[in-house]
């Protein structure tokens, strides 16, 4: 009680109002910064769904590598089963392409090359191409979730 009284005496009316004003300006500034950040980050994105239907598995014959540039994935039917690789290079995000004559996946931007299991063979890519989650839907369609990566060499047998 005594302390509060002391403080009142040491603070003029003008100082109180200046502090109130600066304090409310600081609060308003912080609020503007937060709502500005909220405004700049979109709440709804009209981007394509990460989960895509790749059709019936028998569209993909044994030993085939099917590039889907539109969706940025490869659907591969290897000897041990189906799997899907992201076609987005792990270096700087360019779309890689499948070179059947070399049996390699190559990035046109900076020359990274990968084998059909996504393992880097040469170039600046820091990581192998990610393996994506693959499953068969109730209707028997092959489904790929482009937002979920799984450990390498997880094959889907149908």
């Amino acid at each position: 009680m005594a302390d509060e009284k002391q403080r009142d005496v040491n603070c003029t009316r003008r100082e109180v109002f200046v502090k109130l004003g600066l304090g409310s300006l600081a609060i308003a500034g912080a609020g503007a910064a937060v709502s500005g950040y909220e405004f700049l980050s979109p709440n709804v994105l009209y981007e394509p769904s990460p989960i895509m239907n790749a059709g019936k598995p028998d569209r993909y014959p044994q030993g085939s590598v099917t590039a889907d540039a539109q969706n940025g994935i490869y659907i591969i039917h290897g000897p041990e089963g189906f799997y899907a690789l992201s076609a987005v290079c792990t270096h700087l995000g360019c779309l890689t392409s499948w070179l059947p004559e070399q049996g390699r996946i190559a990035c046109p931007c900076h020359g990274s090359k990968f084998n059909t299991e996504g393992v880097k063979i040469e170039g600046p890519a820091p990581r192998p191409l990610p393996w994506l989650r693959v499953w068969v839907s109730d209707e028997g369609d092959l489904m790929v979730d482009r937002s979920t990566t799984v450990a390498a060499r997880q094959f889907l047998r149908t």
């Binding site: 981007e47 700087l92 995000g93």
Partner: protein, 248 residues
Amino acid sequence: MAKAIEAYLNDLRETRVWRSMFRSGTGATNLHRALAVQQNIFLHLFSVKMRRAALNFSVTWYLGTLSLATFLILVGTGIPLMLYYHPSVPQAYADMKDLQFVVSAGVFLRNLHRWSAHAMVLLVFAHMFKVFYRGAYRAPREFNWVIGVVLLLVTLFLSYTGYLLPWDQLAYWAITVGSNIMSAVPLLGQKMRFLMLGGNSVNANALLRFYVLHCVILPLAAILFIGVHFWRIRKDGGLYAGEGKPHE
């Protein structure tokens, strides 16, 4: 003839309409000359007195004036280009092609804009080297070097944002690569990329954001910093003329 024109101009300067616009009045005294500068909104940024050497026509003007000239060309060509360009995914590329093949003088404006943009980046770097090697960054001009660095970054970011607008393969993948480089910033990288693109990939939001940055926010920033940059040069006595040497 020349005398008659001069007399006519002198009479014109004494008219009430002229004096209502330019209050300093006529006269060749130092006071009148100083007032003419100080009472004009455009001229008042400049000093009322200069060393004559600082006003001499220079070969390069440190290349800063040429950088400004390219910037003015870019504003002058960019605004007409905006009249035919829609920053939307279905239209952007087609509008760019229309500007080249359908719009009268469109190809001229677009090419002038593009070449001036290249020239501006080159000239801004050349300007920086010239200021560095001539020692024009030294006291009292150190802070103007800092403003110059800001202007260099604004120039590069203008160049980068303009690169996406044609919305062709080169633009798309250049911005994809550039934004992925940005996401390598520790801790904040992913967030910065998301905010800059307005999403997770280079798409409609990114195109619109880059358009607004390119046409509004960055040019305004450039004009602001160019103003401060030039004002400081004038207040420091004009372009740096070396120690004891006349300005070249």
